[in-house]
Symmetry: C2
Subunit: 482 residues, 2 copies
Amino acid sequence: MTLATINPAVVECEYAVRGALAIRAEELKKEIAAKGRAQAGFRSITSCNIGNPQQLGQTPITFFRQVAALIEYPNLLDAQHRDAIKGMFAPDAIERAQKLLKAMGGSVGAYTHSQGIPLIRENVAKFIEERDGYPSDPNDIFLTAGASPGVQLILQTLIAHEKVGIMIPIPQYPLYTASIALFKGNAVPYYLEEETNWGLKLEELERAHTLGKSRGHDIRALCVINPGNPTGGCLSVSHMKQIIEFCHREKLVLLADEVYQTNTYMPETFPFHSFKKILMSMGPPYSTSVELISFHSISKGVIGECGRRGGYLECTNIDPKVKDMFYKVASISLCPPAQGQVMVDLMVRPPREGDESWEGYRGEVGRIYASLQKRAAQLAEAFNKLEGVSCQPAQGAMYLFPQIHLPEKAIAAAKKAGVAPDELYCMELLNATGVCVVPGSGFHQKSGTWHFRSTFLPPEEQMGGFIRSIQGFHEGFLKRYA
Amino acid sequence: MTLATINPAVVECEYAVRGALAIRAEELKKEIAAKGRAQAGFRSITSCNIGNPQQLGQTPITFFRQVAALIEYPNLLDAQHRDAIKGMFAPDAIERAQKLLKAMGGSVGAYTHSQGIPLIRENVAKFIEERDGYPSDPNDIFLTAGASPGVQLILQTLIAHEKVGIMIPIPQYPLYTASIALFKGNAVPYYLEEETNWGLKLEELERAHTLGKSRGHDIRALCVINPGNPTGGCLSVSHMKQIIEFCHREKLVLLADEVYQTNTYMPETFPFHSFKKILMSMGPPYSTSVELISFHSISKGVIGECGRRGGYLECTNIDPKVKDMFYKVASISLCPPAQGQVMVDLMVRPPREGDESWEGYRGEVGRIYASLQKRAAQLAEAFNKLEGVSCQPAQGAMYLFPQIHLPEKAIAAAKKAGVAPDELYCMELLNATGVCVVPGSGFHQKSGTWHFRSTFLPPEEQMGGFIRSIQGFHEGFLKRYA
């Protein structure tokens, strides 16, 4: 096998979140481990390239972990330990663990149903019903190993031949371009409007669709990320309705990536609405014909349980025979990780008022949420103070996506080095400060503009130092390339 | 989306292990849940269609689960609980949990390195070195979500265009035909010889390769499953050397599915040897040029931790630039499940003599192994007593693959119903007894022969009843179609 002989789609696909910057960050980590510090003097890497909250010290929800631990080692539930564990585990955690163990046949070590444990799918359906006020069927739910494999399953099914086009937002989360390339389809880009906080205009969808068709693409689906990644923008109801009408008119499957649905930081002005809810509220013919697949995940929100890989997708108006195909393909990989499924159950059925763990749960969730909200605002403000940088506030998600106006000399230097100008900026930032962000070019962006994506996940007590090191670097960079 | 518009590869691929039989078994489970029993009178489904030991009551290894539970809820390691947990967790389990938590940055909820946690890859490399006596490099190891996604990653990379052929054994584990179909390649079948306990002959490899080429296939790789699934056969060293020489001569990548490496039941006569070891023992040019990818899993052995999805692959003689591509594609799915990675660590670094958990661990492993060995022999004997059934003994793995000589009338009835004759047999077995096995046609088989695959995983105390219900059904079936 060489690059010349293997699948060209594998060679050509790009995934910037873990690309050149992340690889360089790994090298620096090794250097720090060996020498105590990097050449530039910093002693640790701040990984703002990926929404990985617990890596940066966000603590897990106690109730969730109690249940997970009891499921791992059910001997703790035996009579001999009954008294001893009372001081360690909440009664409702014990009860939940017992119920879930029963639902999985007694062990988290067994393969589950390929579509996910039936009880957990029932609970997901109830959660969706409560959230939206419209019915949801457990048979329309597929538990997945995070949202990413769910998106990949659907894209693989949609891409029937090499002319198939999939509409994606620009900037986008690179899962979309990478997966579309892997399955040999075509990304049909539509642009979000930075000036209106990454708004989505119907005319732009129409422009992109017409252009895609004129290039011979057989356009099958439209992806929307709401709240936006990397942009942080939240869609309004009127825009969502326009998108649904557009999908109806053009016979497009709507893929709604809603993994940041609880990460909304201005909930009164920019609340989250699910596409399922808006679609149902529109009534026929929309509610009965627009094909919608919605994705959710345990990796985001205030939960941040990325490592265990869990999530779900819900099918609305999907042909039952096509759902059978989803099931068949899912079954080839046997089942989603059982501990990921457990966490989906906990996400959709957290402690409620009156439960023993309620107060503790509410406190933890509230603290994490308030801190994310605060850090989002603090970092956006800091970015906006930098010379030549403008940054839209984060209405949602976990990222800021500031635009940087780079000096001509920096652009020329990047061209000479054969890298994108924002990649040059981000690589120098990493080498100088240990801060790892992702160049805007990895998400694609309006031609001639340069950005980077940074999470706002460094802990509150480190935000000051984090911001100062970016400021110091930025000033030096501008001087160096003045 | 309809079956006519979606990706035809998705529509056409088949995965029998969770196919029509498994779907019918789910229906019967619901019937039993509602009415207390199925129409035919049985009160439970015996799922022998899939190697899922813990579903059938195999108990997990205590040490492993203690470590996993502490990692889930590290608060148990806090000073306040120190005394209380002493009676619940072994000291070496506590120590291991602390080390692993440190290696994953403090939380099992964070994304890990996309190739897997570096410490765990180091431990996998040490395990391979000790097993084989040859060096192994942690950078050549990729942790995976079970062996299946590892196999799929490699097949996706290998299948560069629609003429690519991949040699696979017949009978095969249907992961191979399903994945090759999904990635739009071509399975090039070579046949194992049932009469010599599913032996592999060089002439058969040559015949299959020549035939594949004559059909225009660009043959890139050879898959071997050792110990065999569904056959239970173990390869001899001389056959393994012939396979390696063949791959060298024909420039084929060798994919070695070795997930059943500790499931050998006649270890003195038919011991397991890894392809890595045999390849290294052959010296240059073989040891320095034959491209080998070896797969292992936490789902099999005496561990049986299927649900958490863990495993690894090792690359030998693979171009570093191609390994970079594996890394890139792995990174699109972010990381393998962290609890699956933890279990890989425990599998390759179990308690050793002198450790606190050693005696308990040795006892558990010994009991599970002895019981598997006993049940394998018991079930093979029972199958061989059935009229018109012949069954090779299981040298390894978790399955028996008896051949059934079906009456002409049964074959005619199947033809009329549009199903394979062994599918008819298996479906009637399921409907009459609740025993779910997989028809041989799902694994492919020599034309004109009929088989089924059954695990020998029902608990010892149920084996008698299990065997009796198959015997009763079989006699009735033969009478019905006499």
